[in-house]
């Protein structure tokens, strides 16, 4: 089945980002397709490459980028990103900044859209 994912909260501050990641891993293991991850609200902060994380903790933005490298599209809402200082210069690899229309596309392409937030 095709799952689309909406992430509404920033990394570390809320568990939403971790739950979304764990859900995606479990879905992939079961052979499902992830149509894309859309980052909205503070969720856009997941995609900064400037995070500097101690070795004993998970590196959330790197984890997303690795998922993007596997071909899962990572879409960062441009309007939400601008408000929070996320721009192409600080964006992780394998993600793209795009419009809210892409969330609409994601809803259409997916059998299920599941939201992780606060």
């Amino acid at each position: 089945m095709k799952f689309g994912i909406l992430v509404q909260e920033g990394p570390y501050n809320h568990q939403a980002s971790d739950s979304a990641y764990n859900f995606i891993q479990a879905a992939l293991e079961k052979g499902h397709e992830i149509t894309g991850v859309f980052f909205y609200n503070d969720g856009v902060i997941n995609t900064t490459k400037l995070m500097d994380i101690p070795a004993d903790d998970r590196h959330i933005s790197k984890r997303w980028s690795d998922l993007g490298a596997k071909g899962i599209q990572l879409i960062v809402c441009v309007a939400a990103a601008k408000r929070r200082g996320i721009n192409p210069d600080v964006l992780i690899e394998n993600a793209r900044i795009d419009g809210l229309g892409q969330l609409s596309e994601l809803c259409i392409e997916s059998d299920r859209l599941i939201t992780f937030g606060d």
Binding site: M1, S19, N22, F23, A26, K30, R112, F116, D118
Partner: protein, 97 residues
């Protein structure tokens, strides 16, 4: 329809509305701080028991473990991420954020 609840019932009134706006037999899955609703002997045990009469209620094992809850309220089914995925496959999900 699958109801996803990620909030502590001691802090938020989320669960009340979730139960009001739901159909008998709609499954409810507790994730993140939502799993605190599975604590035994708590002040919301009454609300949960009433909820369990009308709904199958699940709680994510990884979230229970993270919070040190090894015994859950009778009737709540412990479920891993794989079963969470199965439930979203079966039902349209709504997250009660």
């Amino acid at each position: 329809m699958l109801h996803i609840v990620n909030k502590s019932p001691f802090k938020y009134r989320n669960l009340d509305t979730c139960v009001r706006v739901s159909e008998k037999e709609d499954p409810i899955i507790l994730i993140e701080d939502g799993v605190y609703a599975a604590l035994k002997g708590s002040s919301i045990e009454g609300l949960m028991k009433k909820t369990l009469e009308d709904h199958p209620v699940f709680a994510i094992r990884a979230d229970l473990k993270a919070r040190g809850i090894d015994e859950v309220l009778d009737g709540i089914e412990v479920c891993d991420y794989s079963c969470f995925v199965d439930m979203v496959e079966k039902h349209i999900p709504y997250s009660w954020l």
